[in-house]
């Protein structure tokens, strides 16, 4: 079907078993985070969660929460319906709108495209964490100052995307902002304010 020479060029075959053995120690060291339902005798079996509801622990905004859900339940659903972090919005099921953006271990992540059970052991940060008493994150302040919102439904997701983007690109240019925030949709058309907010913060080093 294809040129065998090509195949050879792509590297000699190696003994996969040896290779796996070699890396075994490192793998064992990164043991899976605890979750009650996975405690079982067989090592492999213990890494399989049945389709039934089971209790898992999620760390959201620095606090552990136990929720009892089936593996098919998304992080978005748990955040919104079980834990009432409703700043995270459900808009489309294709992961194209960004309204469900949270930070997972610091990275912008679509909560609707993650199963809740995948997120055990991760640090999840929702938009609600950007206000503590009267203190708000500079991104929130900037969104308000530049009126980067109208109906406000996409706003929390955009705030989180902007926060994540500026964390990674604290001195971003206008073009970088336009490219970096292309994963979110606003229907009211607040992009001018969001751009102004992100640009101002980037000029101050990302705040």
């Amino acid at each position: 079907m294809w040129d065998r020479k090509d195949q050879n060029r792509s590297g000699p075959s190696f003994n996969r078993r040896d290779f796996l053995k070699g890396s075994g120690a490192a793998v064992a060291a990164t043991a899976m985070a605890t979750s009650n339902e996975l405690a079982a005798q067989d090592k492999t079996k213990s890494k399989i969660a049945s389709a039934e509801p089971a209790t898992i622990t999620l760390n959201v905004n620095g606090k552990d929460y136990d929720v009892t859900v089936e593996p098919r339940v998304t992080l978005l659903e748990v955040l919104r319906n079980d834990l009432n972090f409703t700043g995270c919005k459900e808009v489309d099921d294709r992961g194209t709108d960004g309204a469900d953006t949270v930070l997972m271990d610091g990275k912008a992540t679509l909560a609707g495209s993650r199963l809740a059970i995948e997120c055990v052991g991760k640090k999840i940060q929702t938009v609600e964490s950007l206000r503590k008493g009267n203190e708000v994150d500079p991104v929130v302040e900037g969104f308000v100052k530049h009126d980067a919102m109208q109906c406000g439904f996409c706003t929390p997701g955009f705030v989180m995307a902007t926060r994540a983007f500026l964390n990674e690109h604290p001195t971003a240019t206008l073009d970088e902002i336009r490219a970096g925030l292309g994963g979110n949709i606003c229907r009211c058309g607040t992009y001018a304010g969001i751009t102004a907010c992100a640009l101002e913060l980037a000029q101050k080093g990302g705040a």
Binding site: E70, R72, V73, E77, R80, N81, N84, F85, T86, G87, C88, K89, E90, V91, D92, D93, R94, T96, D97, A99, T126, V127, E128, L130, R131, V136, V139, V140, F143, V144, K145, D147, A148, M149, Q150, C151, G152, F153, C154, T155, P156, V159, I177, R178, A179, L181, G182, G183, N184, I185, C186, R187, C188, G189, T190, Y191, A192, G193, I194, T195
Partner: protein
């Protein structure tokens, strides 16, 4: 009592009115603490999923929900369309399943046994000829009425073509005969969906056997309780509709909707709160569309560029009721002395229309001001000059002329303009413009203003904030009138139990709430001045208020708090009503928009370089949120001009792009440089408050299409101007 005039004060004395005030609920929205109907999660809330029609047209042959009801976690099933019922479009709701969790509701949907008998569908709304051919085959005239033949009716055929209007004025033929230039063109604009990010839906909770609390995503807080009450057999007084925040409406959220009633029924049945929000495909397919329009037009002008004749026939569809763009707004903004206009509606198997931001105007603008620009090309004139020349055939020539001059300066029209099609290299640049008009009169509304003895002030009304900044506008009006800092005014809106306010549609809200709040605040101030005058033995007529102090002839008498201390133990309450003919509000605005675009002739991709909007709207309450309305409208305009459209698949009869991957909306990088200039000479301030939500969304289609035509020297006739349509036009493949 002190007689105070309600008229807006001298412009230069305003502290808040007309300045940039960030919206007062900004932090709530930006941190996710603002609760939308989709976010209501009271204890025990059950969640819904919908079974919908996945064909263009069908009859239900079998529907059995018994097994589905037995599925783990399923609580109840509400059937909206039953055996024998006709489903007339893809996405129509058949049943709603309520369950402990959304996934269990999915399990329930899957277990419903549904059989559909397919019926004939027609979804090609631009295809007048096929619609006529279908009617020729399947209909007959009986007693002067067109009806479907019996055999055809059984197969699901319908009368597809509906003549709507045929008006004539003057003598078009004679004017065309005499004209220097005559242009014949074809233009079109496809259907779009409202596509609210928060879908239509509600959270319903029965607070007793006969009382219902609905968190409804609505633009019509005061008007929807009755829509729930009657079908549910309740007194209207027993229903409370609450909407503190709404995630987009754009004209599609005035009603309870069948989904709202289904939610209430399910909640009643299971005696638990139920949340039912439409899923994304159903939101796109069923919750509201803007009708399409396609036109064949002949337009003529004399040698000076004055347009002398207009002759058009347009068609399109709004779905099953066979409407299209209202003929009344054709041609758009301009009234020509010799005029023929005809309209035909097509009956299609598509979801129902709802009012979409400036109903009919954006399409009419795109169908007629494109023809004007092409006529300018034929005259070998700059389209700017032709528009200018014909302003006398509009209702507000002086304002448009001023706005055109400002816009032209901002976009550097005279330096950048070139005859259409000139330019080297694969990327061509072009300029285009269009102008628009809208009413924006204040709606009927009442508010309660409460001044507390500690000096704080509350304004309460059954209004809503669809993104306009309603709360902020109310706070500005009250604070400005009472000479207080903004933070002393608390605004409470969003319940049908509060004083009634009109629905937020048609750009009526800011005028609607400003008048009553100004009147109430002035009245409250009069009462407080009386108390101050009595206590401090001064003349109430001499009193003024400024920066939290009551002054007489410029000298401080007491602080606002001292004055409010005189109210007594109970707060002072005043009602404000509107609209009134006292000069606080007005109607009729206009605006001019100019677009500078680049078109890649090798890919057909259009990019916005710069987009200028000059907009009048009378007295501006909050400059910042007013400008946000215009920015937003431009972006929504870029959407339907360049990328956004409902795509109906003729083969399956389905809305084939009902997701955000293929229903393409602009993102932050797609908008170019937007320049918003509010036209606000003193003459505008003197007019009073006028709504602004609709007008700036009208002109983008025509302005951008004109800019693309100027760049290419070829008209891309149908919006949105996708790469496919641009390349086909360049190839001469398009009509």
């Amino acid at each position: 009592m002190a007689e105070l005039s309600v008229a807006w004060g001298p412009r230069e004395e305003n502290k808040l009115l007309g300045t940039d005030v960030p919206r007062i609920e900004g932090v709530e929205k930006a941190t996710g603490h603002a609760k939308y109907s989709a976010d209501i999660n009271t204890k025990g809330t059950a969640y819904c999923k919908l079974l919908t029609c996945k064909q263009g047209h069908a009859r239900i042959a079998k529907l059995d929900v018994d097994d589905a009801k037995k599925i783990k976690g399923v609580l109840a099933i509400h059937v909206l369309q039953d055996v024998g019922d006709e489903l007339t479009y893809d996405g129509q709701i058949i049943a709603a399943v309520a369950a402990e969790r959304p996934d269990y509701a999915d399990d329930g949907i899957r277990a419903i046994k549904l059989q559909l008998e397919p019926l004939a569908h027609f979804v090609d709304e631009d295809d007048l000829e096929t619609a006529k051919a279908l009617d020729a085959e399947h209909t007959e005239v009986v007693e002067e009425e067109t009806v479907v033949k019996e055999e055809s009716a059984k197969l699901g055929h319908m009368v597809r073509v509906k003549p709507l209007a045929d008006d004539t004025n003057g003598d078009v033929a004679a004017a065309v005969e005499k004209a220097k230039a005559v242009h014949k063109g074809y233009y079109g604009v496809h259907t779009i969906s409202h596509m609210c990010l928060e879908p239509h839906g509600s959270h319903c909770e029965w607070t007793g056997d006969d009382s219902l609390l609905v968190h409804l995503s609505t633009q019509n807080v005061s008007g929807t309780a009755g829509q729930f009450a009657e079908p549910l057999g309740l007194d209207a007084a027993s229903v409370e509709v609450v909407c503190n925040y709404i995630g987009g409406g754009f004209g599609s959220k005035f009603a309870a909707g069948e989904w709202g009633l289904a939610c209430a029924e399910l909640a009643k049945e299971i005696k638990r709160p139920v949340r039912l929000m439409l899923d994304r495909p159903t939101e796109l397919k069923s919750a509201g569309i803007r009708p399409s329009g396609f036109v064949e037009v002949t337009i003529a002008a004399d040698e000076e560029g004055r347009i002398t004749a207009w002759d058009s026939h347009h068609w399109g569809s709004s779905g099953l009721n066979g409407g299209t763009v209202s003929p009344g707004v054709m041609p758009y903004v301009f009234t020509f002395e010799n005029l023929n206009r005809r309209a035909t509606g097509l009956v299609t198997n598509t979801g129902p229309q709802q009012a979409w931001r400036a109903p009919n105007h954006p399409q009419a603008c795109a169908l007629s001001q494109t023809a004007i620009a092409d006529l300018a090309d034929k005259l070998k004139m700059d389209s700017y000059d032709v528009f200018m020349k014909n302003l006398e055939q509009t209702k507000r020539p002086e304002v448009y002329a001023e706005e055109m001059k400002i816009a032209a300066k901002l976009i550097d029209w005279k330096a950048k303009w070139h005859p259409s099609g000139e330019g080297n290299g694969p990327v061509k640049q072009g300029l285009g413009m269009a102008l628009h008009t809208w009413g924006g009169a204040a709606h009927a509304a009442t508010c309660l203003l409460r001044v507390h003895p500690d000096g704080t002030v509350e304004s309460i009304a059954g209004s809503q904030d669809i993104g306009t900044g309603t709360r902020t506008a109310i706070a500005i009006v009250v604070a400005e009138t009472l000479g207080l800092p903004l933070s002393w005014v608390k605004v409470t809106i969003g319940s049908s139990k509060y004083l009634r306010s009109g629905p937020s549609g048609g750009s009526t809200t800011i005028g609607g709430v400003s008048g009553p709040n100004r009147r109430a605040a002035i009245q409250a101030l009069g009462k407080i001045f009386d108390l101050v005058a009595a206590k401090y033995k001064t003349d109430a007529a001499m009193l003024t208020v400024r920066s939290g102090k009551i002054l007489s002839d410029g000298k401080e008498i007491c602080t606002w708090k001292d004055a409010c201390g005189l109210i007594g133990a109970m707060p002072l309450e005043v009602m404000g009503e509107g609209p009134k003919d006292d000069g606080l509000t007005d109607a009729q605005v206009g605006g001019v928009q100019m677009a500078d675009v680049s078109v890649d002739t090798e890919t057909g991709i259009v990019r916005i370089n710069k987009f200028v909007a000059v907009q009048d709207c009378g007295l501006i309450v909050d400059l910042m949120t007013a400008k946000s309305q215009v920015y937003g409208a431009l972006i929504m305009g870029i959407a339907y001009a360049l990328s956004e459209e409902r795509i109906m698949d003729n083969k399956t009869g389905r809305y084939i792009n009902a997701d955000l991957e293929t229903y393409k909306l602009p993102r932050i990088g797609d908008i170019g440089e937007l320049v918003v200039e509010m036209y606000q000479p003193d003459s505008e301030y003197q007019r009073g408050v006028i709504g602004l939500g609709e007008p700036p969304v009208i002109a983008p289609g025509a302005a951008i299409s004109n800019a693309v035509a100027n760049a290419l020297g070829v008209r891309v006739p149908v919006l949105p101007l996708t790469p496919q349509r641009v390349l086909e036009a360049l190839k001469g493949g398009a009509a």
